[in-house]
């Protein structure tokens, strides 16, 4: 009796001493979450999970190798607790969610008839599966079987559908899929992802400079989920109200539907869903990653800077925007006239970005005058993004163009309009240039009271880089196009006021590098148009004079024709912590390109700050949306079959010739009705790389 007692007591004491001392002497640090997760597990060390005991299982869960429901004994209750622990640590705002990236399913053609085991991994062993598409879903639902939360089903179209309510982001489906179709990602990961040639991308999505997931948001609209459509857009484009109004939508040029009838009116649909959210869904929450502790200064509050600020903030960095003008928006505030993009609408976009919190704004301060790189670094910023735009105008090489009264650069003309102090114009106005800026000047002049407005252009109307709809609108508003002309001389009165412009007529010669035939002036074809004002709108350059000052940090920046040279992928400049994007980093481009560049810059800065590899993977997809080149091979078709022809919806606009149209800044283009939006959304064939819905109405 007493022996038993003593023996057991001795044994317990020895075991306790041994373990107690060992746990101190041989102490090894490990992730504290492992212990927290281990506490949630059953602790039986039974090995039922396939791991070697609860500790190993917890370590695997924390490392992301095992899913949160790995513990059989603990069951769903333990899984929920583990998910809570991990969620807490990973940041409550950064939930992992699963997404199916293939929309093929039954519609995707097959190479051969597969009669084997109903399992994706087994089917994959045979020539990578029967689907014609190399990256398409095989549809046997290995992911569905892998999901212990019942959050996945093979949907009616033959591909898996995620139930977002049930999905905990455990990652089991991603591991089960041999084709990498199921992607379990945090919102941050999705923001950082750039189009790859291995992705499942419709032609429109490949073409969009901002890489918006167009088929997905149109599909949301189709189902009446306008808020989800908007959130999808916001993953790539934080200025949807603005782009929805002014984007020249290169995506529509790639739309496969155009081969049957007309391209889907993608931009109008984007505008529709963003307007709907503006009017209805103001409480929608945009996820923001937990703070990283880094601060980024953005010099210039234009579209690229705003886009970068938005994504940097969503990635968890604090941002401060410095803007020299009183309002944010840059060229889209001061450049695009009210009738195309009302300022209050633009500010809805900007307010939404600032509404994330953690983005400070300082206006009325100019780089190189009020502050410089040294003061930013000294002020505790870890990286600087320069989005200073292109505010200098290009010369038209007409003598005395900067002396004659009544001659004004487009940037000044438009900015004064934006500041509420419009440039006074006479009865007759001429604008030189064929881009969208020229169109804005032309149409603004009409509204400022000019009776006769001329557009001077050295080539023909079809060669103009401006949006077709803009040119058409100019026609509607009575603007006269004087094409194939080269202005040579200003005609002035005695006081130096402009009274007319003399120009030479052109003929077209050999095609130049851009494929357009270059204009050659015809001798002795001088013609004079009487005008009161002349607006120069033939291009802009960046004012990077500050980089020439010796002895400053910023002088280490390299410039080329005024633009600040950067790595076009990472947007990093010669100074590692300085990045540039938007118009100041290259030839001025589209708003949507600036938005896309802003996100790329945000990615570059994020990778730089986090010490990760900044370079793009070699599989990066590079599409030239202007020349429509560089698409994934085999995704641009010559013809499509079986589509019932049905025209696109019209763009609703103010009645041409009406008082509002000619004399006020009321918005000209209007938002489509819900009925029309649904009609248009249903025209979308929800294309992917090669397959599409053939039965689309």
């Amino acid at each position: 009796m007493i022996e038993a007692l003593l023996l057991m007591m001795g044994l317990g004491a020895v075991a306790g001493t041994l373990l107690g001392i060992a746990s101190k002497v041989f102490y090894v640090w490990e992730d504290p979450r492992i212990a927290l997760v281990a506490d949630c597990l059953a602790g039986a060390n039974c090995g039922g999970c396939g791991y070697t005991g609860c500790g190993a299982c917890a370590a695997a869960i924390v490392a992301g190798e095992a899913d949160v429901g790995a513990c059989i004994v603990g069951g769903a209750a333990a899984a929920a607790k583990v998910a809570a622990v991990l969620g807490l640590e990973a940041g409550a705002a950064e939930p992992l969610t699963s997404e199916n990236t293939c929309t093929g399913g039954f519609r995707a053609p097959e190479k051969f008839s597969y009669m084997g085991v109903n399992d994706c991994r087994a089917a994959y062993l045979l020539y990578a599966g029967a689907k014609d598409c190399d990256v398409g879903c095989l549809g046997f639902g290995s992911c569905v079987k892998a999901c212990v939360f019942d959050a996945l089903k093979i949907g009616p179209d033959g591909y898996p559908v995620v139930d977002e309510e049930k999905c905990v982001g455990c990652g089991a489906c991603e591991k089960a899929c041999p084709k990498g179709i199921m992607q379990v990602r945090k919102p941050s990961d999705r923001i950082l992802h750039m189009n790859l040639v291995t992705d499942r991308l419709a032609p429109c999505r490949q073409t969009c400079p901002a890489e918006v997931n167009i088929p997905k948001y149109i599909n949301h609209i189709k189902r009446g989920e306008y808020d989800k459509a908007w959130l999808t857009v916001m993953e790539r484009n934080p200025l949807p109200l603005s782009t929805g109004r002014v984007c020249p939508h290169p995506c529509e040029d790639a739309c496969r539907r155009a081969l049957a009838d007309d391209p889907v009116s993608i931009n109008q649909l984007k505008r529709f869903c963003s307007d709907w959210v503006m009017n209805h869904g103001t409480s929608l929450k945009i996820p923001v990653a937990p703070d990283t502790g880094y601060r980024v200064a953005i010099v210039g509050g234009g579209p690229s800077g705003l886009s970068a600020a938005f994504y940097l903030r969503r990635l968890g960095h604090k941002v401060k925007i410095f803007e020299w003008l009183p309002k944010l928006g840059g060229m889209i505030y001061y450049g695009i006239p009210q009738y195309r993009l009302p300022k209050e609408i633009l500010y809805k976009d900007i307010d939404r970005i600032l509404g994330l919190g953690g983005i400070e704004v300082k206006t009325g301060v100019k780089f190189g005058v009020d502050f410089d790189l040294e003061s930013l670094v000294g002020g505790g910023f870890d990286a600087v993004l320069m989005t200073i735009g292109a505010m200098n105008h290009a010369s038209a090489r007409i003598p005395d163009e900067d002396k004659v009264k009544g001659v004004v650069p487009a940037t000044v003309f438009l900015r004064r309009q934006g500041l509420g102090n419009p440039y006074p114009v006479g009865k007759k106005v001429a604008v030189i240039g064929g881009g969208n800026v020229a169109m804005d000047c032309l149409r603004s002049s009409v509204r400022l009271g000019a009776d006769k407005v001329y557009c001077l252009y050295r080539r023909e109307v079809k060669d103009m880089p401006a949006n077709k709809v803009e040119i058409e609108a100019c026609h509607h508003e009575g603007i006269e196009f004087v094409t194939l002309c080269t202005p040579t001389r200003f005609i002035t009165d005695d006081e130096g006021n402009l009274t007319g412009i003399e120009y030479l007529k052109n003929e077209l010669g050999e095609p130049d590098a851009s494929g357009r035939r270059s204009p050659v002036p015809i001798k002795d074809s001088e013609t004079v148009i009487p005008i009161d004002n002349f607006i120069l709108a033939i291009g802009q350059t960046t004012n990077s004079a500050f980089a020439d000052e010796e002895g400053t940090a910023v002088s280490r920046l390299e410039t080329s024709r005024g633009s600040i040279v950067n790595d076009t992928d990472t947007h990093q400049t010669a100074i590692p912590y300085v990045f540039t994007s938007g118009d100041c980093a290259g030839p001025p481009g589209l708003l949507v390109a600036a938005v896309g560049a802003g996100r790329r810059a945000a990615r570059g800065i994020h990778k730089y700050l986090m010490g990760e590899d900044m370079a793009f993977p070699p599989t990066r997809l590079r599409v030239d949306s202007r020349r429509m080149k560089g698409h994934i091979p085999g995704t641009i078709f010559d013809s499509i079959e079986g589509i019932q022809r049905k025209g696109r919806i019209e763009q609703p606009e103010l009645e041409p010739g009406s008082y509002e149209r000619q004399h006020t800044y009321a918005e000209v283009d209007l938002t489509v009705t819900e009925e029309n939006a649904l009609k248009e959304a249903n025209r979308c064939m929800r294309c992917c790389l090669t397959c599409y819905n053939k039965d689309t109405s």
Binding site: E3, A4, L7, M8, L11, G12, V14, A15, L18, L19, A22, S23, V25, F26, Y27, V28, A44, N45, C46, G47, G48, C49, G50, Y51, T52, G53, C54, G55, A56, A59, G116, V117, N118, D119, R121, A122, L125
Partner: protein, 191 residues
Amino acid sequence: MGDYILLAVGAILVNNILLIQYLGNCPFLGTSKSMDNATGMAMAVVFVLALAGIVTWIMEAVFLKPLGLEYIRTIVFIVVIAALVQFVEIFMKKSMPALYAGLGIFLPLITTNCAVMGVCLINIKEEYNFLEMLVSSLAYPAGFGLALILFAGLRERIIIGRVPGPLQDVSIALVTAGFMSLSFLGFKGMI
């Protein structure tokens, strides 16, 4: 010498601890999903059993038998094994991280592995002397490893096979184990 070989063969094949004696089946099903885990587990069991066999045998010879305390053998053995395994784990984690990564992570699983406890009890029940105990403590886990690794090979194949819904996973694994057991039963005539 012959006796020891006979004992070893008997322990590995004829009385295979997993398939004939039904011991250690939880990790058998748990760690056989992948070959890597199966190999690691097998090695860890050999290692721990050799240690546990020696320690428990000494406990029996030095304390339990002379004091007439055989009736608390169960509790003494399990406490000794649990403390031993935990100690080895802590020690290995710090001092031999490389070995720990390959072997050590399987250790906690072994505390509740009935194969370990079972062999220790068999050693006592069969009244093995020290050498016999050593042979048995190495041969039984060798049999465990053999069956586990063979089974893992089969199971990696079964995962992609066309298995009827209700039979999937553990169910088909058990049926497969049954047929493996049947083939091991064939060794019965050897000794």
